[in-house]
């Protein structure tokens, strides 16, 4: 038996942690890729990050041009950017605080110290030093929280809501990452960045899939293969397919539904997304248009999230 409010807080707790980690990964890798590039390509490399975060308008209003320092400050520290890493960790902790009787004492102490660590960073010092140290501590903090959760929280319904939150956020972030990078790199003429393998290498590294790519494809970096890997790889933990498989497992564990059927709209849509991810070929996806394919996927993820809320979080009492 679990209170709806607790389920909702667990779901968002996980999403915020995942968002913070993903943002940190992309920020860190991009920064180091740019270090090896010529200056005129800067704009190209930093713009996608802002677009991905869905905060282009806010960013332009605050900074105008995107450069390393501005993007770092905006994505990592700004209080007025609701998706900044510091804000994500703050909101994750706030959610944890409302359910601290439910989560394990270890989880609470862990996220609480994560929060204090993140807030102890001095933005000016970090911006002078570059994002690596900061991003590393976010990545490590997120991993540690996963570990503590896995090892101390009973794997019951609450744990399933965390799992769903973690993986739906991850699926969406990966979809956005691939979409934005393709939009900007693949469609662009060669002289301003088309066919730039360094940027694709950065994408792979940011999701920790660089080594796995080489093991699987034994070839140089090709954009279609990178997309295939990030969208459809059955076992890589950051691929969309893997993430949605986890979401499905979580939803089924909560409702008790078996394979081949569904108990609610969220389960139906998850099943539909997975059918496509399992049986489409990357060449078919490219023929259809990658952007519209990923856009569909993002919309379905949004609909899944809404239906989870309708089924489990909000309460309409029928008189």
């Amino acid at each position: 038996m679990m209170l709806s409010r607790i389920a909702e807080s667990l779901f968002w707790l996980a999403r915020y942690i995942e968002r913070a980690e993903y943002t940190a990964r992309i920020l860190d890798v991009n920064f180091h890729t740019v270090l090896e590039q010529s200056k005129d390509k800067y704009r190209l490399h930093w713009d996608p990050l802002i677009v991905m975060a869905g905060e282009e308008e806010r960013f332009r209003a605050l900074y105008g041009e995107a450069d390393a320092r501005a993007v770092f400050e905006f994505l990592a520290f700004r209080q007025d950017n609701p998706s900044s890493i510091v804000q994500c960790i703050t909101k994750a902790r706030e959610n944890a605080r409302t359910i601290r009787d439910y989560i394990s004492r270890e989880m609470w102490e862990d996220i609480n110290s994560f929060y204090f660590t993140v807030n102890r960073f001095n933005p000016d010092e970090e911006m002078a030093a570059g994002p690596h140290r900061f991003c590393d501590s976010i990545r490590f903090g997120s991993h540690r929280f996963h570990g503590v959760t896995d090892a101390t929280l009973p794997h019951d319904e609450g744990w399933e809501f965390l799992r769903i939150g973690w993986f739906i956020e991850r699926a969406e972030m990966t979809a956005r990452l691939v979409d934005v990078q393709y939009h900007i790199l693949y469609d662009a003429p060669a002289e301003i960045g088309g066919g730039d393998n360094h940027q694709w290498m950065a994408v792979l590294k940011s999701v920790g899939a660089y080594e796995a790519y080489h093991r699987k494809y034994h070839s140089s970096i090709e954009p279609e293969k990178v997309a295939e890997m990030l969208i459809m790889h059955p076992l890589h933990p950051r691929s969309i397919r893997f993430s949605m498989t986890e979401v499905q497992a979580g939803l089924r564990a909560i409702s008790g539904t078996g394979a081949g059927s569904y108990a609610n709209e969220a389960e139906r849509l998850t099943g539909k997304v997975l059918e496509r991810l399992r049986y489409d070929r990357i060449t078919e996806i490219f023929q259809l248009g990658l952007h519209s394919y990923l856009n569909d996927m993002l919309q379905m993820c949004g609909a899944i999230g809404e239906d989870i809320a309708r089924n489990y979080f909000y309460y309409a009492v029928v008189a």
Partner: protein, 487 residues
């Protein structure tokens, strides 16, 4: 000798010092800890102190201060030097508190029931009915097993003149602080494990289990699978840490008003698999916010219809509704009367002499002696609405004089109590100095016996010379040790 280093030039002052009977002469039950502290370098002590602070911070044992508009989380300062009470002294406190709790419960049963006490002319009906927290809505409600005062926090102080513990005030609504008692002990055991090896200290950690047992016994459906919930106002309440802590320790649900709904006179929780009935609510929301249909209509913290379910006997509430009449500061003066009237016993613990401004002769005395007295508004708590005569300036005294004359019923007065002192660490000077303390033991009543965890919360006024121990005004706390024996 480095022995005196932490104690520096410790001054006993003109107060009862709980550690020393004379300069450098510790009382027997403090001798071992005095020796241990005296042998410590200030830097070693400081290191342990920081370790303890960090541990509170990481666990989020903080309260929120809203003075800067953003809401800052602050630590409730913890002083590492324990307060020690020998067993024989505790036994007397324990008996005195139990007697008081039973009498308060009988008083509440009576004023919301047959009202024999008015017929027998022990207390004026007008005094009771004019209490801010007396609720006519509660008259005639039969509470489960006749218990009103499930949880009481009774504030004791040691009078420096006699060295005797006496009762300063009763808290029988939603007293807080027990989580600090339990957490202070945990941190103390981690920080000073060596000190515990030399003393036999009575444990305190059975509190949550005992409270859970009592709550379970109240279930209107009986049986052992009662659904119990702790109702909290939410994370912005200053005691939120305690609410979540107790819910977790007892393995019960922590709920907010929006998690509950009343349908057909039954209280339910909203869960991911539908509505689940709730039998017992340990509520940490004040009476007036409990039910917007009965009390304040603007409250969003409670549950509309809750009082209906309570009146119908479909849900038990702890503490009972309407208890505030028993800890009103004017009613306080009558508690010795209750003990004699309901129990036929003499009070074991002394109360502080109290002037009721509603009485003509008391009022005259109070107005003549304001600069010597403490004046308190009767319905307030937490140190609000108070005049400290000896330290107040002329304007403030004049102000209170007007207020008292305008509404005498709302004020009581007492002589300033010279609270006892316990050596405490002053981080600003890196030294130990005497600081004033009180003691709040927590009493649990199951209708038959009163269980009190040995000790309770020792609050300490960490500012030099201050007599105010409230956390909102610079107070801290100490671990309180009741010994298995005498030293």
């Amino acid at each position: 000798m480095p022995l005196q280093r932490l104690f520096g030039d410790y001054q006993l002052g003109s107060f009862y010092d709980e550690m020393f009977s004379a300069p450098d002469v510790p009382r027997p039950h403090y001798a071992k800890i005095f020796e241990k502290l005296g042998a410590m370098m200030p830097s070693q002590f400081e290191e342990r102190r920081q370790h303890a602070d960090l541990s509170f911070l990481l666990q989020g044992i903080t309260f929120t201060v809203y003075s800067d508009g953003r809401g800052t989380e602050r630590l409730f300062p913890f002083d590492l030097i324990p307060r020690i009470i020998p067993n024989s002294e505790w036994q007397r406190i324990d008996r005195g508190l139990a007697q008081r709790v039973v009498a308060l419960n009988l008083f509440l049963q009576d004023v919301y029931g047959k009202q024999r006490i008015f017929a027998d002319r022990q207390i004026p009906r007008s005094l009771v009915y004019s209490c801010k927290h007396f609720l006519r809505e509660v008259i005639g409600i039969e509470v489960p097993r006749g218990i009103h005062t499930h949880i009481c926090g009774i504030d004791l102080v040691r009078d420096s003149k006699t060295g005797e513990f006496c009762v300063l005030e009763d808290n029988v609504r939603t007293p807080s602080g027990i989580s600090y008692v339990l957490e202070n002990r945990l941190v103390m055991m981690r920080t000073f494990p060596d000190a515990f090896q030399e003393y036999e200290v009575l444990p305190v950690n059975h509190y949550p289990a005992e409270l859970a047992r009592i709550l379970r016994s109240l279930s209107p459906r009986g049986g052992n699978d009662a659904q119990i919930a702790l109702l909290t106002p939410g994370i912005y309440n200053s005691a939120y840490f305690e609410h979540s802590f107790l819910a977790q320790q007892m393995g019960i649900e922590l709920v907010e008003g929006r998690d509950l709904i009343v349908d057909g006179g039954i209280v339910y929780m909203k869960t991911i698999h539908g509505l689940k009935r709730v039998d017992v609510i340990y509520r940490r929301v004040d009476d007036e916010f409990l039910d917007s249909l009965t009390f304040r209509p603007d409250s969003v913290l409670g549950v509309p219809g809750l009082m209906g379910a309570y009146r119908a006997g479909n849900v038990a509430l702890a503490n009972a509704v309407g208890n505030g009449v028993a800890d009103d500061k004017a009613i306080y003066a009558y508690v010795p009367t209750f003990i004699r009237y309901y129990l036929g016993e003499d009070p074991i613990l002394r109360s502080v002499d109290t002037y009721l401004c509603s009485k003509k002769e008391d009022l005259a005395y109070v107005l003549d002696h304001l600069p010597e007295l403490v004046v308190k508004a009767v319905g307030e708590s937490g140190g609000y609405g108070m005049l400290m005569g000896p330290t107040a300036d002329r304007d403030r005294i004049d102000d209170f004089e007007q207020r008292i004359k305008a509404d005498p019923r709302n004020y009581i007065a007492q002589h300033v109590l010279p609270l006892s002192r316990v050596p405490s660490y002053d981080p600003a000077h890196g030294m130990i100095a005497g600081r004033h303390v009180d003691l709040r033991p927590y009493c649990l009543y199951d209708g038959e016996k009163v269980t009190i965890v040995p000790g309770g919360l020792t609050r300490v006024a960490l500012q030099e010379g201050s007599l105010v121990v409230n956390s909102s005004q610079g107070g801290g706390s100490k671990d309180t040790w009741v010994l298995f024996g005498e030293e």
